[in-house]
């Protein structure tokens, strides 16, 4: 089965049809998705800033990471569920879209980077090139996820 025929089949299922005829569901689910991204992104940026000695300096890096990294993990399931609803609503718009795959690949990579940074934060090692670069990469990956997510609306599915 190709992606196109799968999308076609999914868009004809009862849940997809229900969302398509109920106008408010997509904007409402997108709003929850965005609010959750806000919580996740701010938690990630607070940790990344602290790695560079900025932001919450009154706490140690380990304290900041132990407090905010779990917030990132807590947001992910909500984002996956709301994202899944949006895919079910408009499979053709998303599943054939290069921007969607860039978003998913970036997500997988940033999960690994975040876990690495959390371990680094707990190790109490001094800041060196690798964690500094990965903190920057983490922000860039979250930015890529947000930007490519928005660009799904503008890039043609193939």
């Amino acid at each position: 089965m190709t992606i196109a025929t799968f999308s076609e089949w999914l868009s004809n299922t009862a849940p997809s049809q229900f969302i398509q005829v109920t106008n408010w569901i997509i904007p409402a689910v997108q709003t929850v998705h965005i609010l959750c991204i806000a919580l996740l992104l701010s938690a990630a940026v607070v940790v990344d800033l602290r790695i560079f000695g900025a932001g919450l300096r009154s706490e140690t890096l380990a304290q900041v990471a132990d407090r905010f990294v779990p917030k990132i993990w807590a947001c992910l399931p909500v984002l996956l569920v709301t994202g899944l609803i949006l895919i079910i609503a408009e499979p053709g718009r998303t599943l054939g879209n290069p921007a969607f795959y860039l978003k998913m690949i970036s997500l997988v990579v940033v999960i690994g980077v975040t876990q690495w940074l959390h371990n680094y934060a707990r190790s109490a090692r001094a800041l060196s090139v690798v964690p500094a670069l990965l903190a920057i990469v983490s922000v860039l990956l979250w930015a890529t996820i947000i930007v490519s997510g928005r660009l799904i609306a503008y890039i043609e599915s193939i």
Binding site: P27, A28, I37, A38, S42, V46, S58, V147, R150
Partner: protein
């Protein structure tokens, strides 16, 4: 009056440039900036309401996070202004957009009142969960900003 202003704004070269070439990119930057702003603001608001960061003094948290919060807000305001310019004549008649602007004014008034009136009594609740007016400022902020994001997302659906 407002319509002729919108027409003038939309006819500016910068507005034409955004409208014809850069709208998706500016919109993506707007989403990145606003989610970062919102997440940081929510962290400070929740401290007021009595949820999270209770081991820190309120002023300690706000002094360390608010500069970054305002930086993100500035980026969201600039990108939002560019998006508005690009389609000004449409947005001035868009009801969710009008609601979003009205709520932004209320959120500003809420912050102003908190900053210049309520905050004078910070010594009484700096090291504990806020009560009374300070707590209500946090609750009001959370409600208003959630509504602002909701109406913001709705702009594209009418």
């Amino acid at each position: 009056m407002i319509h002729s202003f919108a027409e003038w704004l939309q006819s500016l070269p910068l507005a034409v440039l955004v409208s014809e070439s850069w709208f998706p990119q500016v919109e993506s930057a707007h989403v990145f900036a606003l989610t970062l702003f919102l997440g940081l603001l929510i962290t400070v608001d929740l401290r007021l309401v009595g949820w999270g960061s209770q081991h820190m003094r309120f002023t300690q948290l706000s002094d360390q996070l608010l500069p970054w919060t305002w930086l993100a807000f500035g980026c969201a305001a600039v990108t939002g202004g560019l998006l508005f310019m690009a389609n000004a004549t449409t947005y001035v008649d868009n009801v969710p957009f009008q609601a979003k602007m009205a709520l932004l004014v209320l959120a500003g008034l809420n912050m102003g009142f908190f900053q210049f009136v309520t905050f004078r009594g910070v010594a009484a609740w700096d090291d504990r969960p806020a009560t009374g007016a300070a707590r209500w400022a946090g609750i009001t902020s959370l409600v208003l900003w959630t509504a602002i994001v909701t109406f913001g997302r709705w702009i594209g659906f009418v």
